[in-house]
């Protein structure tokens, strides 16, 4: 086998806009020994705001929603629409792992139609592993790294109950996909179980008026809880395809109105706490005074630092090695 490129090397190539290194970047961030050897840190260091001279260019979009609502089919059309607008796209699709065997069937890719010759579309499926929250361990790092080279980085995760929270910590814009006619989301929004999404997408509009009705109900609910900013878009991802111009506009509008440095900084800090938690468990977190205290502690660190450096800062505070 050929020698794998170093993390720093990959980071530099991403910074130069080299999209072809995406597979190698993913192989690296998914690989445990590389994390241990500091290769991932070296990679992320090269694409941190300090090295880039600002936040990474990409629009990081999270797409989440219950199993089978149509996230991947939606992405297939979204990818096409983005590519039509000449934006390069990286898709990170996260599928659940079997609790029994640890293995996973990664099926999202099958629904996302793309031209295999198109070098500006990259699709990678990852198993969530045993990490709760719907994100694979490597997904945060992958999003941060690829964000330096791609115009759009989109993360698809199965959202059941609370896992959108974690996507929200990574993405600039979170789109929650809902099935017309299912009342769950209304309940979740009202009761505050669910974070308020940046964009709500009602899918399967081809099935007729139920989608429009669902849209009205969602808007009414959002208003009743005082949320007026969230846009609700109806789409159909199957022929006749509709709603994608509006959806892209809604995503772009959200991103344009964002305090990007603040959101990215929050994402990196949340990522560091999550990594720390994964490594040192509840006991480690308690030693820092809990999650909120850990996040506050990170306020004192350099805002340009990459996640592994922040994690190390936490470890230093906790007295862990």
């Amino acid at each position: 086998m050929s020698e794998a490129p170093s993390g720093a090397d990959l980071g530099r190539r991403l910074r130069d806009g080299d999209l072809s290194v995406a597979p190698a970047v993913l192989n690296l961030v998914e690989s445990r020994p590389a994390q241990e050897a500091g290769e991932v840190e070296a990679l992320l260091h090269e694409v941190a705001p300090g090295a880039l001279g600002g936040e990474a260019r990409a629009h990081v979009v999270g797409v989440t929603g219950p199993p089978g609502v149509g996230k991947s089919t939606l992405l297939s059309e979204l990818v096409r629409a983005w590519r039509e607008r000449q934006r390069s796209v990286a898709v990170l699709a996260v599928d659940p792992s079997s609790k029994r065997s640890g293995g996973a069937l990664l099926g999202d890719r099958a629904r996302i139609v793309s031209d295999p010759a198109d070098r500006a579309t990259f699709i990678r499926s990852t198993a969530a592993g045993d990490r709760l929250g719907g994100l694979a361990p490597a997904t945060r790092a992958a999003a941060q790294a690829l964000g330096a080279a791609f115009d759009v980085v989109v993360i698809e995760t199965v959202g059941v109950g609370q896992s959108e929270t974690e996507v929200a910590e990574v993405a600039d814009t979170v789109a929650v996909v809902v099935q017309p006619g299912s009342g769950d989301v209304l309940q979740f929004l009202k009761s505050g179980i669910m974070e308020i999404p940046d964009v709500l997408v009602v899918t399967k509009a081809d099935l007729g008026t139920v989608a429009q009705r669902a849209r009205r109900d969602l808007l009414a609910t959002l208003r009743s809880i005082g949320e007026r900013a969230t846009q609700v878009v109806c789409v159909s991802s199957v022929a006749p395809v509709q709603g994608f111009d509006q959806l892209i506009d809604a995503l772009d509008a959200h991103r344009a109105g964002l305090d990007l440095p603040a959101r990215r900084l929050a994402a990196r800090r949340a990522g560091a706490v999550a990594d720390f938690h994964a490594e040192h468990g509840d006991r480690g977190l308690r030693a820092l005074g809990g999650r909120r205290a850990a996040l506050r502690a990170l306020d004192e660190e350099d805002p340009a630092l990459e996640v592994p450096a922040l994690t190390r800062a936490l470890e230093a505070r906790a007295g862990a090695t």
Partner: protein, 662 residues
């Protein structure tokens, strides 16, 4: 007169042989030979490009032209295929689905060229799209427009081609994909209901009785032949119930369950292939023994089913099985021999009960079209269980998991390896012919016909058949017809069913393999990841699905995107997904063309992962594939998937320098 004998011996069922390959001309010779041997109807096997709506020069047709059936690209091909066969007398069954409307159009035009009017034509277009989504894989358009095409054909033929069976609802393929008897009954009948519901929207209510009577079935019969016979009786009973209660049909003749059969091929083995003859005979008994549920038409696979395509002699042998049964035995001299049988009635009740319950589940999903994903996952699961039973020895397969020792078999010894091999030059020839056809036709007429077709496709209230027949007459090609409809309807990928498949209950061997996967994954630094790919038009998904599910159950991360991918799509997936091993499955005979290309593509893209291949790979092709860089080849004789998985894990370990376990 006694009531245990018939006053007159019954006429035998229609005997057919599923045949076609290379070119229309070659297949025509084959058909004429078969008819001379006493075959009483035609059963046309089309090649995969024709079945999926691509011309021979399309990227996806590569390696598939003329391989497993005859290519029919335009009315000239259809005329050559039927040359010298009087179409007013012939009964022709066409295994054609997504492009059924088109092939019927070509057949009608070919008949007219012979001076035969459509009203005189007899035969069947399979035209069952739901089972293509579930099991067979030659679909082209999304569910809704596909159902519309079917309804259009039924509505058209019921008045214009009244002796034609516009649709043949298949349960054959469901059993071949792993269905239990209950699933076979329930999914086939639910499918029939979905079709009738769609047709009801498009015909006069007074015609529904007639429509109901034109619905025929194509079923399977496995080696558990007593239960299989009961299955057919149960299907008859339930179908009549459906006709009465759902569609208000009362005429007993219209209510009759009519079916043809191909007996089970999934259970036919590569090892000791002579045993397949016994299996075929017994399975044929299952569909002929009882007069009240006897098949109308039968076609049989051959002893060499699991080796490759049958030669004319192999097919003759299978035809002779039917002839011995029909003409030498006393089978056809009696009324129904199971009438009043406690055992048979009990079995029928049991199956009918199970099927009703499963039909209710399909109904809860909103009917068969909406339930495709559910049914597909259920089939994958049943097949997983079937293979598990064979591996554990619970289900005996003689020559496989019991009595596996054998004297050397002379069966496959000849120079041809005991199978028919299609000349690979056929594809180039067909491409040239096609180019010639395109230069010789009236371009303006073609353009106009395609316009008409697009208009008809866009207008849901129009029937697709008249514009289709016009296009056939104008010299449009199969690929052009389908392309126009793909533009109007969009394309579709059927669900794979693997994601929902239940986890296997791990045996000791599996536990051991899980540990090994875990250990090798540690060594690799991330979880062992495999891509299971199906290049080309091949729709045989069973093997790939089961390999994918088993790999997951052993703890691997598995990328499986379903059937019908181009080599470049598979290369892109392997590269982007960073897999440790690429497993390819091909059963349609295109491995010699596609696999070396695919490996070259992988290496060019910088993917160094080893490639293993499974499917119908004749012995003679193994060495060339290995030369092209294939690390291992698996065929049906490698029935123990545990062994295959163990090999794959070891291969990945070795290629990545992960040491052997202590």
């Amino acid at each position: 007169m006694s009531d245990h004998r018939l006053p007159e011996r019954d006429r035998p069922w229609m005997m057919r042989t599923y045949a076609g390959h290379s070119t229309a001309k070659k297949s025509n010779e084959l058909y004429r030979g078969n008819l001379a041997m006493g075959q009483t109807g035609l059963s046309v096997a089309f090649d995969l490009p024709t079945q999926t709506g691509y011309d021979a020069d399309h990227e996806l047709a590569r390696g598939e032209v003329g391989k497993v059936g005859v290519p029919v690209a335009h009315r000239g091909d259809m005329a050559a295929l039927m040359d010298g066969i009087p179409l007013d007398e012939m009964n022709t069954s066409m295994t054609i689905n997504a492009t059924a409307a088109w092939l019927l159009g070509l057949y009608i035009v070919a008949a007219q060229e012979q001076g035969v009017e459509a009203g005189a034509l007899q035969g069947t277009t399979q035209n069952d799209i739901i089972k293509e989504f579930l099991a067979r894989g030659t679909y082209a358009f999304p569910p809704a427009p596909s159902m519309r095409l079917i309804a259009d054909m039924v509505a058209y033929t019921v008045t214009e081609v009244p002796k034609w069976n516009p649709i043949n609802i298949c349960s054959y393929h469901l059993q071949e994909a792993g269905a239990t008897p209950v699933q076979e009954i329930a999914y086939a009948l639910s499918n029939g209901i979905a079709v009738l519901d769609a047709v009801r929207e498009r015909v006069e209510p007074s015609l529904m009785g007639k429509v109901f009577s034109r619905m025929s079935f194509f079923v399977n019969a496995g080696v558990r032949f007593v239960e299989e016979h009961a299955k057919l009786r149960a299907m008859g009973r339930l179908w009549e119930e459906v006709g009465r209660t759902r569609y208000g049909v009362e005429d007993p003749k219209q209510l009759r369950f009519r079916y043809g059969v191909q007996v089970n091929s999934l259970g036919l083995t590569e090892n000791q292939p002579e045993n397949n003859v016994q299996r075929i005979v017994l399975e044929t008994l299952g569909v002929t023994l009882g007069r009240d549920a006897r098949a109308r038409a039968i076609q049989l696979p051959a002893w060499n089913e699991a080796l490759g395509l049958p030669r004319p002699w192999d097919q003759q042998w299978s035809l002779r099985i039917q002839q011995v049964l029909a003409y030498e035995t006393d089978l056809l001299e009696y009324p129904d021999i199971f009438e009043g049988s406690r055992v048979m009635d009990g079995l029928v009740d049991e199956l009918a009960r199970g099927a009703r319950a499963e039909m209710a589940v399909v109904d809860e999903h909103g009917g068969a079209v909406e339930a495709v994903a559910y049914m597909k996952a259920a089939l994958v699961d049943s097949h997983r269980e079937r293979l598990g039973r064979i591996e554990s020895g619970e289900q005996v397969v003689v020559g496989i998991n019991r009595y596996a020792d054998s004297e050397p078999s002379p069966m496959a010894e000849g120079e041809d390896g005991g199978i028919l091999t299609v000349d690979p030059g056929v594809e180039a020839g067909q491409r040239e012919e096609l180019a010639r056809w395109r230069t010789q036709r009236d371009d303006a007429a073609v353009a106009q016909a395609l316009d008409g077709l697009r208009r008809a496709a866009a207008d849901d209230t129009e029937n697709i058949m008249p514009a289709t027949i016009e296009a056939a007459r104008a010299g449009v090609t199969t690929g052009e017809w389908a392309h126009a409809l793909r533009d109007a309807f969009g394309e579709y990928r059927a669900p794979t069913g693997v994601g929902e498949a239940a986890a296997s209950v791990p045996s000791q061997d599996m536990e051991r393999l899980r540990d090994e996967v875990e250990r090798v994954s540690e060594g690799l630094g991330r979880r062992l990841k495999i891509l299971v790919g199906k290049p080309g038009l091949d729709g045989h998904s069973n093997g790939a699905e089961q390999i994918a599910v088993r790999a997951r159950d052993l703890g691997m991360d598995v990328v499986y995107e379903g059937i019908r991918l181009t080599p470049s799509q598979i290369v892109a997936s392997a590269l982007q997904e960073g897999v440790h091993v690429v497993g390819l499955s091909i059963l349609s005979g295109s491995h010699r063309e596609l696999i070396p290309d695919l490996i070259a593509g992988l290496r060019e893209a910088g993917v160094e992962a080893p490639v293993v291949v499974g499917g119908i790979i004749p012995e003679a092709d193994v060495a060339p594939l290995r030369e092209a860089g294939v690390a291992a080849v698996y065929t049906p004789k490698d029935f123990d998937m545990g062994v295959i998985m163990g090999d794959i894990v070891a291969l990945v370990a070795q290629r990545n320098g992960v040491g052997a376990s202590a």
